[in-house]
Amino acid sequence: MDADAAATPATVRLAFPPEARLLGTLRLVVGIVARKAGMGEEGIEDLKVAVSETCAVAVGDLNRAGVPDPIEVDLVEAPDRFGIEVRDRAPSAPGGPSNAADGEVDDRELGLALVGALVDDLKTSTLDGGGNRTSFWLRRGPQGLGAGALDDLPPPLT
């Protein structure tokens, strides 16, 4: 790899149909890519949770809307951090019905809050022509988020 190539963030792009059974495969691939990028084990686990939660919301939105379009996930390897962008073509923004069964918490809201607690710079926006884009970063390195990162977490959600 020459100097120019090293300076350009490498992107791995994944696409999968909105089927919940594929989330395990997605986590497996995300873990492999992040590990090869040199991310620490704690960071890899955080990344798997964050990506899985984000994509689970997209799967739910797409299924409720009856849209079979694939979910796209970009894994961006930058020098000091690891970026994720998830795009889906669900027509409505978050705010659909909860998946929670009777007596349970709203796991959709819990999931999104969990992502917000695990990652840096979480952003959501609407795609031109309909759909949603969610992006965030995690710092790279042997310790993932780094020692003491939990000290910076927001207060517990409950």
């Binding site: 689970a56 007596g103 796991d107 819990l110 207060p155």
Partner: protein
């Protein structure tokens, strides 16, 4: 991706050993098992998460639902977990204040119901 569930009785307690990944796809299986236990009269449940590789918010919701169901019968739901990656999920969401989390099944069984 599989979620394996194994139930055994230990005195007044039902011990539910969970192995695999708990996410939006597999969590319904765990929900059904917890509902079945409560329907069969098991109101003191220990959920052993030591062989769980992944836990997401859907799984957390199912466990909270199980806790509410046993509490409706003055029961208890105790967790067993020593894996840092799983404990972190409970800590971030504040659920360490909701669930008693123990280091072993015997500790969970001998703990007083809260």
């Amino acid at each position: 991706m599989d979620l394996d569930l194994n139930v055994r009785k230990d005195g007044d307690h039902s011990v539910l050993e969970v192995a695999g990944e708990i996410d939006v796809y597999t969590a319904p299986k765990l929900r059904e098992q917890l509902i079945e236990l409560v329907s069969d009269g098991s109101y003191h449940i220990v959920v052993d998460l030591e062989k769980v590789d992944f836990l997401d918010s859907t799984g957390l919701g199912v466990l909270v639902g199980g806790l509410k169901r046993v509490r409706n019968h003055d029961g208890s739901l105790q967790l067993v977990c020593t894996q840092e990656k799983i404990l972190k999920i409970f800590r971030i969401t504040g659920l360490t204040k909701v669930f008693p989390i123990h280091g072993s099944v015997p500790d969970a069984i001998s703990a007083p119901a809260e």
